[in-house]
């Protein structure tokens, strides 16, 4: 997850830094995992997972996907992500809009408080602060992602203050557009405020405005240049 030599300063391209879902079985394998025999289960309970997977006759899927060498350039990292996904499926991004981060997939509908100035429905807004883009096993994270770790680093007095907040995934690496569907409002809320025996009672009428946006395809760029 930390930056490596040879990569652009703004990006740290790495394997998924922590796996949290089961790896997909390889497409070529046709056999289902057999239930382990009682003898192999008792013998493997005391060994590590790597030894168990090779020693026991049970064919449980491996804990980690086959190790891929960390890509040396953004272009190769992008090709790894592109090998697992298409612009409309299998890809996600984490982006910041005003002060909130959202995990978005193509074709999602995002509802945010009314975005001013009002743009007519059909307008495509570009996401400018993309923190992370990735597929199932690979992700490109910018230094701005992982805000908690960054703020902890900033508290370190020896650390030079960096502009990590501005180091987001640039447009030549990944792009995504949000189409404005509508600017709408919630039904009217009537909030009654009352204090007893003081003659204080008032009614507040509130209608929250919302903008609904459709997330478009996540296009990966070439990874080169600052265009």
């Amino acid at each position: 997850m930390s930056g490596r030599a040879g990569l652009p300063k703004v990006l740290s391209s790495s394997l998924r830094y922590l796996q949290t879902s089961a790896p997909l079985p390889p497409a070529s394998s046709s056999s289902f995992p057999h239930p382990a025999s009682p003898s192999s289960v008792s013998s493997s309970s005391s060994t590590s997972a790597s030894a168990a997977s090779s020693a026991s006759s049970s064919r449980l899927p491996p804990l980690l996907p086959p190790s891929t060498p960390t890509p040396s350039s953004t272009t190769s990292a992008l090709s790894l992500i592109a090998s697992q996904s298409t612009p409309s499926t299998g890809r996600y991004l984490v982006a910041r809009l005003h002060s909130r981060t959202y995990l978005l997939h193509p074709r999602d509908i995002l509802t945010v408080p009314t975005l001013k100035p009002l743009s007519p429905p059909g307008t495509v807004l570009a996401l400018t602060r993309i923190l992370e883009v990735g597929s199932r096993d690979y992700a490109i994270r910018s230094p701005a992602a992982g805000g908690h770790e960054r703020r902890r680093e900033l508290r370190d007095p020896e650390r030079k203050l960096g502009s990590w907040k501005d180091d987001t995934v640039p447009a030549h690496v990944a792009r995504c557009g949000l189409t404005v569907l509508e600017h709408t409002k919630s039904p009217l809320e009537l909030i009654v405020k009352k204090k007893r025996r003081q003659g204080y009672k008032k009614t507040i009428q509130h209608k929250q405005g919302w903008t609904r946006l459709r997330v478009g395809d996540i296009e990966l760029g070439s990874g080169e240049g600052s265009a």
Binding site: Q19, S44, A49, L63, L104, P106, D108, L110, K185, R214
Partner: protein
């Protein structure tokens, strides 16, 4: 039973679903109807609106049909927006000034015709039929847990 078999097959066969706003966009508002009374004193605002701001709005939105109708005496001025989903939004503009009427027409232009629903707890509506790109969390494969997933 060919009829029931074909019905079953069509239910199983994958279908393409068209989603509004994904790689295409159609204006949800198709028609604006402005009902006004040419003689009522409280409808001076809508009469001024009809002269010039309405023309500019109609020119800026060529895909929206604009209809102006005259009311009987004693009726309130109203603007109606008819949407592609079959619903309509009706806003009374009696007694409003021209700039306020422009704002109300803006409400019609920026809406989609859907019935108002509480959106506070609906920040992200997932794509229909879509799966999460990162897969479903598995307790046995979670590296964050102490020990990093299952060990046998």
């Amino acid at each position: 039973m060919p009829a029931s078999t074909s019905a079953l097959l069509s239910a199983i066969r994958p279908r393409t679903v068209s989603l509004t706003g994904y790689n295409h966009f159609l204006t949800p508002l198709r028609k604006i109807i402005i009902d006004y009374d040419p003689l009522s004193p409280s409808q001076a605002g809508i009469r001024t609106y009809l002269k010039s701001p309405m023309v500019k709005m109609a020119e800026a939105n060529p895909d929206i049909e604009v209809l102006v109708r005259r009311l009987r005496r004693g009726k309130a001025a109203v603007i109606r927006g008819h949407y592609v989903n079959g619903r309509d939004k009706v806003i009374c503009v009696n007694g409003l000034e021209t700039n306020e009427i422009t704002n109300k027409v803006g409400l019609l232009l920026s809406a989609s015709g859907a019935k108002l629903k509480p959106l506070k707890n609906l920040t992200l509506e997932a794509a229909p039929g879509a799966e999460s790109a990162r897969g479903i969390w598995s307790a046995l494969h979670d590296e964050r847990k102490p020990g990093g997933g299952y060990r046998i």
